[in-house]
């Protein structure tokens, strides 16, 4: 490998399953504590201290689960697709494992987002489900996750499985901007985004600060769940290598 390294050092270190196993072992407790703390604070703040909405009353509080879950389901998909692309281009085993670890978590979070949305939709809109662009594209995201999980487990050889799922994930990536802009491009029943990076949120700070805490909490939770799955996957695939044997026999 005499060629010029054009990515930062940590990128190449990530290629080593052993290095990854060790670094995630160190990061895990930090994220676990952060996740528990932010989710606990966020939930209590959101349920007990945030004011009710002037139109929806208390039923709007489901936003504190629904919005973080929806954001995370999309971020998780992007991470999975990027990891898949890195796996395809650099043939990096760890990237394949990251992609594989993301899929079931993303699927669960997407289900959570759809379920909380339906529960909120019934009293607010008057319907559990409407086939509008936002809801439908979110459902497609769930189906993409399920398809990726199915495809990955249908192929015996780990490398072939990772390649096929990475291609599927990359094709499905087009759905992410569709979800995001569906409410702007078409008439939908779903309201436009309350939060944008460029404008002030259409919500007072005593409502959005706990929401922000919940979003951070969801991301930390995702990091924990992902690292746990990744470590499992590393041990499983590297079970024949000497460092894993040393680790087990200890």
């Amino acid at each position: 490998m005499a060629e010029k390294k054009w990515m930062p050092r940590w990128f190449y270190q990530l290629a080593s399953p052993r290095w990854c196993y060790e670094i995630t072992g160190k990061l895990l407790p930090i994220f676990a504590i952060a996740a528990v703390a932010t989710l606990l604070v966020g939930t209590i703040w959101a349920l007990a201290f945030a004011p009710a909405d002037y139109q929806q009353g208390n039923s709007f509080r489901i936003i504190y689960i629904h919005v973080p879950a929806s954001i995370l389901a999309q971020s998780c998909y992007m991470m999975m697709a990027v990891a898949g692309a890195i796996g395809l281009i650099w043939k990096m085993k760890v990237a394949d494992m990251v992609a594989k670890a993301c899929a079931p978590i993303g699927a669960t979070i997407a289900i959570l987002s759809l379920a909380t949305g339906a529960i909120w939709g019934k009293p607010t809109w008057g319907s559990w489900w409407v086939w509008d662009a936002r809801l439908t594209s979110m459902l497609i995201l769930l189906f993409l996750y399920l398809g990726i999980i199915a495809l990955n487990s249908a192929i015996e050889n780990a490398q072939t499985a990772a390649q096929s799922t990475a291609v599927l994930a990359l094709v499905g990536l087009v759905n992410i901007p569709i979800i995001k802009y569906s409410v702007d491009w078409w008439n939908t029943l779903h309201q436009p985004a309350t939060f944008t990076l460029t404008e002030r949120p259409a919500m007072p700070s005593e409502m959005w600060v706990p929401l922000l805490v919940m979003v951070i909490g969801f991301y930390c939770f995702f990091a924990v769940a992902m690292m746990l799955r990744l470590r499992n996957e590393i041990i499983q695939r590297e079970r024949r290598s000497s460092w894993v044997r040393d680790l087990i026999t200890g």
């Binding site: 060629e3 054009w6 004011p51 009710a52 909405d53 002037y54 139109q55 929806q56 709007f60 936003i63 692309a85 395809l88 281009i89 650099w90 009293p123 607010t124 809109w125 008057g126 319907s127 409407v130 086939w131 509008d132 662009a133 291609v167 990359l170 094709v171 499905g172 990536l173 087009v174 759905n175 569709i178 491009w185 078409w186 008439n187 939908t188 029943l189 309201q191 436009p192 985004a193 309350t194 259409a202 919500m203 007072p204 005593e206 409502m207």
Partner: protein
């Protein structure tokens, strides 16, 4: 970057942009079908199919709601601030239904030019605020127009 990786990178980019172009073009072609509802202007301009079941969306005009005292029938006007359509509905309205609220109704135009709805859904906008703030804004007459109008888009 070695040539093999470069080649694979190009393939990956090709997959992403190829899929995006294909989906983008089909979305563009299907544009009208993806819209959840027709606006009152579409209906007045005869852009919406007549006689078949469609969805129509707009704001409930202030002061236009007439409730029948004998039945669950409700008549109201729905507007997009350019044109309006009269809607007739028999049934239970969602909690958020009120004058000035955005709604989406499913039904068909009858021969009298009245939209006969079989289902009325309330459309919520992206603005949230505590009741005290809303009250204070309303009292001061400073409720921003966009808070009422957003749903009609």
């Amino acid at each position: 970057m070695n040539p093999k990786r470069k080649q694979r990178l190009i393939i990956v980019l090709f997959i992403v942009f190829g899929a995006a172009t294909a989906v983008g073009l089909s979305m563009y072609a299907l544009n009208q079908n993806i819209n959840l509802f027709y606006s009152p202007t579409d209906i007045v301009d005869n852009k919406a199919p007549e006689g078949t079941r469609i969805r129509a969306g707009g704001m409930v005009v202030e002061g236009s709601v007439i409730r029948d005292t004998q039945s669950l029938n409700v008549m109201f006007d729905m507007t997009d601030y350019a044109n309006s359509v009269t809607v007739s509905f028999t049934g239970i309205l969602p909690d958020l239904f009120r004058e000035g609220q955005g709604i989406v109704a499913q039904g068909a135009m009858n021969s009298d030019g009245v939209f006969e709805a079989v289902e009325v859904l309330a459309k919520h906008d992206e603005n949230y605020m505590p009741p005290e703030v809303a009250e204070a804004l309303e009292k001061a007459g400073k409720m921003p127009d966009q808070m009422r109008a957003k749903g009609a888009e």
